[in-house]
C-alpha cells in the first residue's frame, strides 16, 4: 500500500504545481532536424516572450517522424505543431493529421511578407489546390562539390557541365590518380538518396516520373528505355570503379564514408545538400588550418535540358486535433520570423523569398546559390498527384538497387518502376 499512497501524494503534488501555473497554456512542438540544440533555444526564447504559453520541445528521428505522427493523430494525440518533410504534408493533410490553415492565415497572417512569399507552397496544398495543410519552414537544395586538385591532376580544366562530361572527368581522374571521381550513395533503403540522383538526371533531360497529362490527371513522364539509360549511367560508375567502393551499402550522400573521402582528398566530387557542403568545408578547415580550400561548388550536370535539383526542406503543420490552434499559430509565426532564423536556425535557409535575400551565400557556396536560383524545382506533380512519394521513392531505390547489383537487367528494373508508378496513378 506504500506504493499507492506514494502515488497519491505525487498526484496531489503535481495537481498543486499545475494549479499554480493554470494560466499557462501548454503546447508541444516536435522537431526532426539535427540542429535541435539551437532550435530548442529559440523555443525557450518564445516561452520568455509569451509568458501565457509554455511550449514543450520534442525531438524525434526524422525516419520515424511521419509514421509516429500518423499513428498519434489517428487517435487524437500528437504534438500541437510538427516539423515535417516538405513531401509528407499533403498525405498527412488528406489523412486528417494536419489542420487546414486557411482560416488562421487569413485572420492572423503568416511569415514576413505573406503567403505568396513562401517557396514550394504547392507541396502544402490538398488536391483541391486551395486547402493549405502546412507552412514551408526551411529550404535546401543540392549541388556539386568538386576537388579542384584532383580535377587539375586529371587535366580537367572546367567543371563538368553535362552528365557525360562528369563521367569522362571521373574516368580521367581514375586514370591519373587512381581515385574515384564521383561519389554517391546507391543503397536501397526506403529513403535512399539514389532517388534524388535518378530524378536530377531525368529532370535535366526534360523527363519526369510524374507529369500532368493536361486533362487534370497525371501520367508517367518517362519511358522504360529512358529510365534504363539512367540506371546504366550510374551503373557505369560502379562497374568501372569510378565511385567509392561500398557505394551500394550507403543510402545518404552525406554518409561519413563520402564526406571523409572528400575531406581527405580521396574523392573527386560529391553531390550534396547545402549543409553537407558547409560541414565538409568546416571539417577540412579544422584539419588544414590556414590553407586554401581545394574545393569548388557548381550546379549539377545537365542532359538535353538545364540542370535541375529538387527544392527540399521542411514544413510546419498544426495537429488537426489540437486544443490550442491560436497558440500553435503564434508559435508557427515565431518559427517563420527572420528573428528566429537569424538567431536560432543558422544552419538552414528560410523558405521565404524575402528572408532568403537576407541570408546571402558565402563565396565558396556559389554553385549552391546558382542552383538555388536557376536550377531548383519543386516536386510539383509528384506531390500533387495521387501516387505517394514515399512509395515511388522506395520502389525506385529498390529497383535501382537490384539492377545495380546485377540481379535484374536495367530494362527490367526500369519497367518495374514505370509499371509501379502507372499503377499508383
Amino acid at each position: 500500500m506504500n506504493r499507492r499512497s506514494l502515488a497519491a501524494t505525487l498526484a496531489a503534488f503535481t495537481g498543486l504545481v499545475a494549479g499554480t501555473a493554470a494560466a499557462e497554456t501548454e503546447i508541444t512542438f516536435r522537431y526532426i532536424q539535427f540542429n535541435a540544440d539551437e532550435v530548442a533555444a529559440g523555443i525557450e526564447e518564445f516561452n520568455r516572450q509569451n509568458p501565457d504559453i509554455n511550449v514543450i520541445f520534442e525531438r524525434i528521428a526524422m525516419q520515424d517522424a511521419r509514421d509516429q505522427l500518423i499513428r498519434e493523430t489517428a487517435i487524437g494525440e500528437g504534438p500541437d505543431v510538427a516539423h515535417l518533410n516538405f513531401v509528407w504534408v499533403k498525405d498527412l493533410g488528406v489523412s486528417g493529421s494536419c489542420l487546414a490553415l486557411n482560416e488562421l492565415i487569413e485572420t492572423h497572417g503568416v511569415g514576413s511578407a505573406g503567403w505568396d512569399d513562401f517557396l514550394a507552397t504547392d507541396l502544402t496544398l490538398a488536391e483541391d489546390g486551395e486547402t493549405i495543410y502546412g507552412v514551408p519552414f526551411a529550404t535546401d537544395t543540392w549541388a556539386m562539390v568538386y576537388n579542384t586538385e584532383l580535377l587539375a591532376a586529371a587535366g580537367v580544366d572546367a567543371v563538368p557541365a553535362t552528365w557525360d562530361e562528369l563521367l569522362e572527368a571521373s574516368r580521367q581522374i581514375k586514370a591519373a590518380t587512381g581515385k574515384p571521381g564521383f561519389g554517391f550513395a546507391s543503397g536501397s533503403s526506403g529513403n535512399a538518396e539514389i532517388w534524388f540522383l535518378a530524378n536530377f538526371f531525368m529532370w535535366s533531360n526534360g523527363q519526369a516520373l510524374v507529369v500532368e497529362d493536361g486533362q487534370g490527371g497525371y501520367e508517367v513522364g518517362i519511358t522504360a528505355e529512358e529510365l534504363a539509360a539512367i540506371i546504366d549511367y550510374y551503373r557505369t560508375y560502379l562497374d568501372e570503379e569510378l565511385t567509392i567502393a561500398g557505394s551500394l551499402g550507403i543510402s545518404t550522400d552525406n554518409d561519413p564514408a563520402l564526406i571523409e573521402a572528400m575531406t581527405s582528398g580521396e574523392l573527386g566530387a560529391i553531390v550534396t545538400p547545402i549543409f553537407g557542403a558547409v560541414r565538409l568545408f568546416d571539417d577540412w578547415r579544422e584539419r588544414n588550418p590556414g590553407e586554401e580550400l581545394p574545393f569548388t561548388t557548381a550546379m549539377t550536370p545537365h542532359g538535353s535540358g538545364t540542370p535541375a535539383t529538387h527544392l527540399g526542406g521542411q514544413s510546419l503543420c498544426v495537429n488537426a486535433g489540437t486544443e490550442h490552434p491560436e497558440e500553435a499559430w503564434k508559435l508557427v509565426q515565431w518559427l517563420t520570423s527572420w528573428e528566429f532564423f537569424e538567431k536560432y536556425n543558422t544552419l538552414f535557409y528560410p523558405a521565404q523569398q524575402s528572408l532568403l535575400l537576407k541570408r546571402p551565400f558565402p563565396a565558396e557556396m556559389e554553385g549552391f546559390q546558382k542552383q538555388f536560383t536557376e536550377g531548383a524545382r519543386s516536386w510539383g506533380p509528384y506531390a500533387r498527384g495521387p501516387a505517394a512519394i514515399a512509395a515511388m521513392w522506395n520502389q525506385t531505390a529498390r529497383s535501382f538497387g537490384s539492377a545495380l547489383i546485377g540481379e535484374q537487367t536495367s530494362m527490367q528494373a526500369a519497367e518495374e518502376i514505370v509499371a509501379f508508378v502507372q499503377d499508383q496513378l
Binding site: F34, I56, Q68, A74, T252, E260, S264, E286
Partner: protein
C-alpha cells in the same frame, strides 16, 4: 606429454591438458584471436567516443577529447539514462516476480489444462514484435496510456515473461519436489515453503533470469519509439537513435551514447558471470 616432460614449471603448468605443447599453443592463439573478435567491435566504439570528430573515422590519427560526452549530456541524456534504468529495473522486478510464481505453479501443481496453459505461455516467445506495435498503440491510446511509463512497464514485463517462465520452470525441475513437500509436512504453509525453502535455492536461477530480462528491456527500441514521444520520458536507445538524421548524423554523440548504453550492461554482466553460467545451466539444460 610434451608439457609434462618439459623443465620444472610452476604447479599449474603441470596440468595434463591432453594436448601436446604445439597443440596447446595453437589453442591459446586461437582463444586470443576469438577474444579479439568478440571484444573489438565494442572496444572500437568506446575508443571512438573519446576521439575528436576530425579523427573519429581515421585509423591512424587519434586526438583525445571529452567533448562528445559533454555535448551528449547537454541534450539531457542523463534523463534518458535514468528513464532506462528505472523502466528496466521495475519491469524486471515485476516480470521476475510474476514469472517465478507462475513457474512454481507450473512445476509443482497439477491442474486441468496445465500443459495447454503452459504451452501457450511458452508460445509467447514466437510472436514477432513488429506486428504487435500498431495494435498495442491503438489499445494504449484508448486507455490513455501513451507517453506514460506504465505502458512501457507493461510492455517490458510482457516481453520478458515467456522466456523467464521457461528458464525458471527448467530451474525448478532441478529442485527436488521432496524439499518443499518435506517443508509442508513439517508445518510450513505453501507460501512459507516457497519463500523459505525454494526461493533461496532458486536464487541463482532467478538472477540469471532477471539479467536476461534486463538485457531485453535495455536494448528495446520498437515499442519505446511508438509509446514514448515526450523528451522527458525517452529511453537511451531512443535518444541514441535520434542522433541519426536524414542527411547527417551526430557521430560524436552517437559514439558517446553507444558507449554509455553498453557500459551498464557490461558492468552488470561481469560480476554476474558465474551466476549466469550456473543459472543458465539449470534453466535451459534440464539433465
Amino acid at each position: 606429454m610434451a608439457a609434462t616432460a618439459a623443465a620444472p614449471m610452476p604447479r599449474a603448468f603441470r596440468v595434463n591438458t591432453g594436448f601436446s605443447l604445439p597443440g596447446e599453443l595453437a589453442l591459446v592463439v586461437l582463444t586470443i584471436l576469438v577474444l579479439i573478435f568478440l571484444v573489438y567491435p565494442t572496444a572500437w566504439i568506446i575508443v571512438a567516443s573519446f576521439k575528436t570528430s576530425a579523427t573519429m573515422f581515421s585509423a591512424t590519427e587519434f586526438e583525445f577529447t571529452l567533448e562528445n560526452y559533454v555535448s551528449l549530456f547537454q541534450t539531457g541524456f542523463a534523463r534518458n539514462i535514468f528513464n532506462s534504468l528505472y523502466l528496466c529495473i521495475v519491469a524486471v522486478l515485476i516480470s521476475t516476480f510474476v514469472s517465478t510464481i507462475a513457474a512454481y505453479t507450473f512445476s509443482r501443481m497439477r491442474f486441468r489444462g496445465k500443459s495447454m496453459i503452459f504451452g501457450s505461455v511458452l508460445l509467447g516467445q514466437c510472436f514477432p514484435w513488429i506486428i504487435l506495435v500498431t495494435p498495442l498503440f491503438i489499445l494504449f491510446a484508448k486507455m490513455g496510456l501513451l507517453n506514460n511509463h506504465f505502458s512501457m512497464l507493461f510492455v517490458y514485463t510482457a516481453i520478458t515473461i515467456p522466456f523467464s517462465v521457461y528458464l525458471l520452470v527448467g530451474y525448478l525441475e532441478g529442485v527436488p519436489r521432496s524439499l518443499d513437500e518435506a517443508a509442508m509436512i513439517d508445518g510450513c504453509s505453501r507460501f512459507q515453503a516457497i519463500w523459505l525453502i525454494i526461493f533461496p535455492i532458486m536464487l541463482p536461477g532467478i538472477v540469471a533470469t532477471a539479467t536476461y530480462a534486463f538485457m531485453l528491456c535495455w536494448t528495446e527500441y520498437l515499442f519505446a519509439l511508438a509509446f514514448l514521444t515526450k523528451t522527458q520520458l525517452k529511453t537511451m536507445p531512443l535518444a541514441l537513435y535520434a542522433f541519426f538524421g536524414e542527411d547527417t548524423s551526430e557521430w560524436g554523440r552517437i559514439m558517446a551514447a553507444s558507449a554509455l548504453t553498453t557500459a551498464p550492461t557490461l558492468l552488470l554482466f561481469l560480476p554476474l558471470q558465474t551466476r549466469l553460467t550456473s543459472g543458465l545451466a539449470a534453466g535451459s539444460v534440464k539433465q
